[in-house]
């Protein structure tokens, strides 16, 4: 389960480290921000007494009371709209959408409102809200608890969309999101909540929004991925290295919008090959934008077609396990594609 990651310079500088899973790291980041800043608060469905359906906010209501950790009515547009209104009156709300699949009722408040407050008022009003949403396939989740919906939001200037994969990044990026003066959509892959563990700094730190991370250096191809797929890609990359001496450079965007072009282009210009892997429905996914950007701006460096892997273009994962497993890009498929592209 633990997988190899290059420890970044920043993290080696950090003192106390504790092993945490993604869920714990995010929960902790939230609690720390709430302790440090009275205006930070949480609102959403079942976030209070129950501590959230994934128990990420457990203990917060006890510590901060029912106003700063508010169980809202079942109304996503209200949740995001209220967060906007709180933010213009001095608060730093972190709104939770129980599942990313249930963002659509709040779509208007996110893309028409939060994203445009600053621009439309010529900078008079800004909207410092964070919207957390668990996404991604989980067994038993079926059509409406499995979707990867990030592409809906990656054509909307004014928004920031982040999707960190690993615990330390997630904690540090949540802090950045909360402190950011702009609205930030914060996606968490629910299947990795307890699956992915790593050492997380205990002291206060922030991981900047807008910077990709090179998890593994390599010369043969660049793979850009995030979420559960990144976890798989890193394992496959290790295997390819051991079995075929193929060295994949693996880049995690961490921020999906606006994306860190520089890091991705820099990588592709070295390797000459690009593969994007995500769990979203392939057509129109975030990988499309990244692939198009690469094919436009690193064209002369490309030694092969830009490639993408994603879920097939069917509505979503099914309730039946065999169908779900078929839906998600498999390690085998990723391996075959990486191998093929490296050898192109």
């Amino acid at each position: 389960m633990p997988i190899l990651r290059r420890s970044s310079k920043a993290s080696t500088r950090r003192a106390r480290l504790t092993r945490k899973n993604l869920l714990q790291a995010i929960g902790e980041g939230l609690a720390e921000e709430m302790r440090a800043d009275d205006t930070v608060m949480v609102l959403g469905e079942d976030v209070g007494k129950a501590g959230g359906v994934f128990r990420l906010t457990e203990g917060l209501m006890k510590e901060f009371g029912p106003l700063r950790v508010m169980d809202t009515s079942l109304a996503e547009s209200l949740i995001v709209g209220a967060a906007i209104g709180l933010s213009v009156n001095g608060m730093r709300p972190v709104a939770e959408i129980q599942f990313a699949d249930f963002i659509p009722p709040a779509f208007d408040q996110i893309v028409s409102e939060a994203a445009k407050f600053y621009y439309r008022s010529n900078g008079a009003w800004n909207c410092p809200i964070t919207i957390r949403a668990p996404y991604g396939v989980v067994h038993g989740g079926a059509l409406y608890h499995c979707q990867s919906v990030e592409a809906w939001f990656c054509n909307t200037p004014g928004l920031k969309v982040v999707a960190p994969t690993f615990p330390a990044d997630a904690k540090g990026m949540l802090k950045s999101a909360i402190r950011d003066p702009n609205p930030v959509l914060f996606f968490e892959h629910k299947r990795t909540y307890r699956l992915i563990k790593e050492d997380v700094p205990e002291d206060d730190y922030a991981v900047p929004i807008g910077k990709a991370k090179v998890h593994r250096e390599g010369t043969d191809l660049t793979v850009v991925s995030y979420g559960l797929m990144l976890y798989t890609v890193l394992q496959v990359a290790q295997k390819l290295s051991e079995e075929h001496s193929i060295e994949a450079e693996v880049v995690e965007p961490r921020t999906l919008y606006p994306v860190d072009k520089e890091t991705i282009l820099g990588s592709v210009k070295q390797t000459g090959k690009f593969l994007g892997v995500s769990e979203a429905n392939l057509t129109g996914s975030v990988s499309a934008e990244i692939a198009a950007m690469v094919a436009e701006e690193a064209f002369e460096w490309l030694d092969g077609p830009v490639k993408r892997l994603g879920a097939p273009d069917v509505p979503a994962a099914a309730f039946a396990k065999p169908m779900t497993d078929f839906f998600v890009p498999s390690a085998e498929k990723i391996e075959a594609t990486m191998l093929e592209l490296a050898r192109y």
Binding site: A50, L74, G140, L143, H145, A320
Partner: protein
């Protein structure tokens, strides 16, 4: 649910003895099937259970007025007794619970409790809470446009009224006097959120603001629900417009098999509500009017137990769809 006056309540409502036994049968079947789902979950056979326990009276009391295949229903995920009373079987639900290919609701695509039947006019149910209301209004509008006397029943929990979609549909139904019934099964909780944090004022009380009747009814009393729904269906069929029924009831189980309700409610509260169990209350009524004696009760229980066991076994042995079938049926042809 007292037997008062000269004749028993059900006679006054125009229900024959046979009706009562059918109603009882649906309620009991729903309950026993539901209990079996939890056993399959504990056995590791069912990945996820969502339950209708406690809401059988609200469901059967209402749906018993429907003409399956003519009227339309938009059920929500606890409406097992709705589906059964309309003509789906226990086997259908187990097939769905276990995500088998033969599952008539979705062929293993959707979670259990997401009912669908073209023949029975059960419109494919969804997971996002509240979306069914505008759709139901549209379906009712089609009846009005064509001058037909069809009725649309749309169901949801009390938290579904917090969504904008509920209000938009209430308003539209009021404006156009649509032949539809909003059945709100108010079971006190939305996962962990109690109704005091969910609903300001009264749900039934809101109907007046949309110019149509709202009825609050004891949702654990199947005859009281039947009575409220009777008027509502009559109104709808006579083009007199929509009715809102708020059936006050209680969710006897945890929200789902993924939920631990000890985090947010007291065991004692549940015990209090168990005393008002709609199935047991109706049994008592049937005993009072001498439609049920220990023998008959035993016989029905055994029958239902057998039916449930058989249905469950069938579903357990039924095959999954091929994994590749996940790719099929994205667009309708023709």
């Amino acid at each position: 649910m007292d037997v008062t006056g000269e004749r028993p309540k059900h006679k006054a409502l125009g229900l024959e003895d046979g009706d009562l036994l059918r109603i009882y049968r649906y309620m009991l079947l729903a309950r026993r099937m539901d209990e079996r789902m939890w056993i399959l979950n504990r056995q590791g056979k069912a990945a996820f259970v969502i339950s209708g326990q406690g809401q059988e009276a609200a469901q059967v009391g209402t749906v018993y007025h429907m003409r399956p295949g003519k009227d339309y229903v938009y059920p929500y995920y606890r409406d097992y007794a709705v589906a059964l009373a309309l003509g789906q079987t226990a086997r259908d639900q187990f097939l769905s619970l276990l995500a088998k290919k033969e599952d008539p609701n979705s062929a293993g695509r959707q979670m259990p409790g997401h009912f669908s039947s073209r023949e029975l006019n059960i419109v494919t149910a969804s997971a996002p809470v509240g979306v069914q209301y505008p759709q139901a209004a549209g379906t009712a509008l089609a009846f009005k446009i064509r001058g037909e006397d069809g009725v649309v029943l749309v169901c949801g929990g009390e938290a579904s009224t917090s969504q904008g979609d509920w209000h938009e549909a209430m308003n539209f139904a009021g404006i156009h006097g649509l032949p539809m019934i909003f059945l709100i099964e108010n079971n006190d909780y939305a996962i962990s959120t109690p109704k005091t944090m969910q609903v300001a004022g009264s749900i039934a009380g809101r109907a007046a603001g949309y110019s149509f009747p709202g009825i609050e009814v004891d949702g654990n009393d199947v005859l009281a629900v039947y009575e409220a729904a009777k008027g509502a269906f009559e109104r709808a069929r006579q083009s007199e417009g929509p009715t809102l029924i708020e059936a006050k009831t209680y969710r006897l189980t945890a929200h789902s098999s993924d939920d631990d309700d000890r985090r947010y409610r007291e065991q004692e509260e549940i015990e209090q509500w168990r005393l008002k169990d709609p199935v047991i209350r109706f049994e008592r009524y049937l005993e009072e009017v001498e439609l049920l004696d220990p023998e008959k009760k035993e016989e029905m229980a055994a029958q239902i137990q057998a039916e449930v066991a058989k249905a469950s076994k069938y579903a357990e042995e039924a095959p999954f769809a091929d994994p590749e079938e996940v790719l099929q049926g994205v667009y309708a042809q023709g």
